[in-house]
Amino acid sequence: MTLSPLGSRLARGAYLAVCGLVFVFLLAPLLAIVPLSFNAEPYFTFTEGMLRLDAEAFSLRWYREVAGDPVWRRALANSLLIGSAATVLATGLGTLAAMGLASRAMPGRRLAMGLLISPMVVPLVISAAGMFFFYSALGLAQTHLGLILAHAALGTPFVVITVTATLSAFDRNLSRAAAGMGAGPWLTFRRVELPIIAPGVVSGALFAFAASFDEVVVVLFMAGEAQRTIPRQMWAGVREQISPAILAVATFLIAFAVALLWTVEWLRGRVRAAR
């Protein structure tokens, strides 16, 4: 049975409605908490004033509370410190390894890839439990260094994957041409290879940073009071009491996510342009 024009238009309308609902499902949770974070009252449901768009029902109260709270400020400082140090480690080691993996000469490639990707595949609870015992024995639990190493390990797969993907599009003749003109390996890397794979490296770094910035399981197992990060602080807040202050932090994190997404998409455009 072929659909009549009317029937097919109806079917298309129904299909678009279904898609619309899925997008609502994807985005509604994020959209709902943004206005609630401006609630003047200590509730996280819409007050009648808010529904009437009464200016007095909205306030920056919770943003002020978070900004003025030393606990949240320290959590932000910890998240930034641990995230950036872990990112530097993961990006450096991950980029080198990706260059090795991209080479056809690499021995035991599949096995090596399995090991290097494993931090992304192993369920986090298992990783965190193992790290807790091991790092405790070394005196690294409840230290910033311990968390940096742990997060670096968790972030490396993202760097390896993105840089390997960029390298697969890389034209090896360029390196050979550079070598043919007398450039050493280091000069070839710095002047020819790096500029081309740079967007891949940067987006891998952003993934690694985002992974650390959002990680809470390892932090739950390993961090002491002095290493509490933003997700750890949110976890405590959600378990005990969701105040609109948590929603203010959440709104900030959504804005951060949009910025990250925009940057990664822009970089992806550069990779495509370079091909």
Partner: protein
């Protein structure tokens, strides 16, 4: 080895060592705990050696008592008694206080037969079950945590049987974890397929925007997304408010949508949906829209054209997305912990519980070992079918 091989291996080596030391070794050592715990064997070697000669029926002979008395007193001095007592107590509940009390009281008894002295302190010392418990806990290398993790138990005569009905937990929990994984995967496929199709066949300008709508939640913190669902789904939350305002639900009959299995399923589907949409989109983008039109012009209905022409070309994307979502879902911890209540807890939550609260690390290791084996098997399938380096991140 050729220079190229050396160079490649040299580039990979630093990260391999780093991941090995900071990640792989810790995970392996954690799994070792599930089969190896020398605590009791280290503290009571003599007692365990003497117990070798015991026939397992009735109380053992004086040499066993003498060895146990001496070793327990030394353990009390070295303050390792508590660790030993808690290991043995886990095999036979109620022995902790007996073991802890014994050395203290022994000091007040005159020298002589230790057997009578111990029996005076507590009649449990005459019970064969006590000695079986010490012997079991004294096995440094043991499979009992793995037996426990699948609701089995080894009786004193060595036969393996199921635990009593009221103690069976973990098989049910593994089944629940797999069930949740399958349900979430199916929901993601159901919701993800239509929008992936929409994005893949939209004009490039529209596609960029629609794809961004999928990626914003992907990049947003897991905790933020989980929090949002609590805010939306709780009794006084937005969804219930809406249902009441629309008159679909009475104010007194608000639905319990969170802190139960519903909460876990909804939040996990939301969080994992982008992992399904992205591989589907990648595959669909390569299918020309003209194909469907061509099939229609040849007289195929939409359903026929879809089933015979379009769907077969997307199967690889469906497989990749489904495997990925299923693998990730199996290990979920944070979301069930926050929105799952009691009925929505998964195996990871119990691993964390045994790590942090009950301190039964051997059992935590065994549960983790089984979960890890399942995930690793699925990963191998994924790597064979899709290739890990082809995974699309965001």
């Amino acid at each position: 080895m050729s220079r190229a091989r050396l160079r490649a291996a040299g580039l990979v080596a630093p990260l391999a060592v780093f991941v090995g030391v900071t990640f792989a070794v810790p995970v392996v050592l954690m799994l070792v705990r599930s089969v190896y715990d020398p605590t009791v064997a280290d503290v009571m070697p003599e007692t365990l050696a003497r117990l070798e000669e015991w026939d397992g029926r009735g109380a053992p002979g004086e040499p066993v008592y003498a060895a146990a008395a001496a070793e327990l007193m030394r353990a009390a001095d070295e303050r390792t008694l508590g660790q030993v007592a808690s290991r043995i107590n886990r095999v036979q509940s109620g022995l902790r206080s007996v073991l802890v009390r014994t050395p203290r009281l022994l000091r007040e008894t005159p020298a002589g037969a230790r057997r009578e002295a111990l029996l005076d302190i507590d009649p449990d010392w005459g019970d064969p079950a006590t000695w079986h418990a010490i012997r079991t806990a004294g096995d440094a290398l043991t499979a009992r945590h793995y037996l426990h993790a699948v609701d089995l138990d080894r009786a004193t005569d060595g036969t393996i049987g199921r635990r009593p009905e009221e103690e069976r937990v973990y098989l049910r929990l593994f089944a629940r974890t797999f069930g949740v994984g399958l349900t979430v995967t199916a929901l993601c496929l159901l919701l993800g397929y239509p929008i992936a199709y929409l994005i893949a066949h939209a004009s490039p300008g529209n596609a960029r925007w629609l794809l961004a709508l999928v990626l914003v939640p992907f990049w947003t913190s897991l905790l933020v997304r989980t929090t949002s669902w609590i805010v939306l789904l709780q009794t006084q939350g937005v969804v219930n408010d809406l249902l009441v305002a629309l008159g679909l639900v009475a104010d007194g009959g608000r639905l319990a949508l969170v802190h139960n299995m519903t909460g876990t399923l909804v939040a996990m589907t939301h969080i994992l949906l982008p992992f399904m949409v992205l591989p589907l989109y990648s595959v669909m983008r390569g299918i020309p829209s003209r194909q469907m039109a061509a099939a229609a012009s040849l007289g195929a209905t939409f359903a026929q054209a879809f089933r015979r022409v379009y769907w077969p070309q997307t199967v690889s994307g469906v497989g990749a997305g489904s495997l990925l979502v299923f693998i990730l879902a199996l290990g979920y911890y944070i979301t069930p912990a926050l929105v799952g209540g009691q009925s929505g807890q998964l195996i990871s939550n119990f691993i964390a519980y045994h790590m942090q609260t009950s301190l039964n690390w051997g059992l935590a290791g065994a549960l983790g070992g089984i979960l890890l084996a399942a995930v690793a098997a699925l990963y191998l399938v994924y790597d064979r079918a899709v290739g890990i380096e082809n995974m699309r991140l965001g």
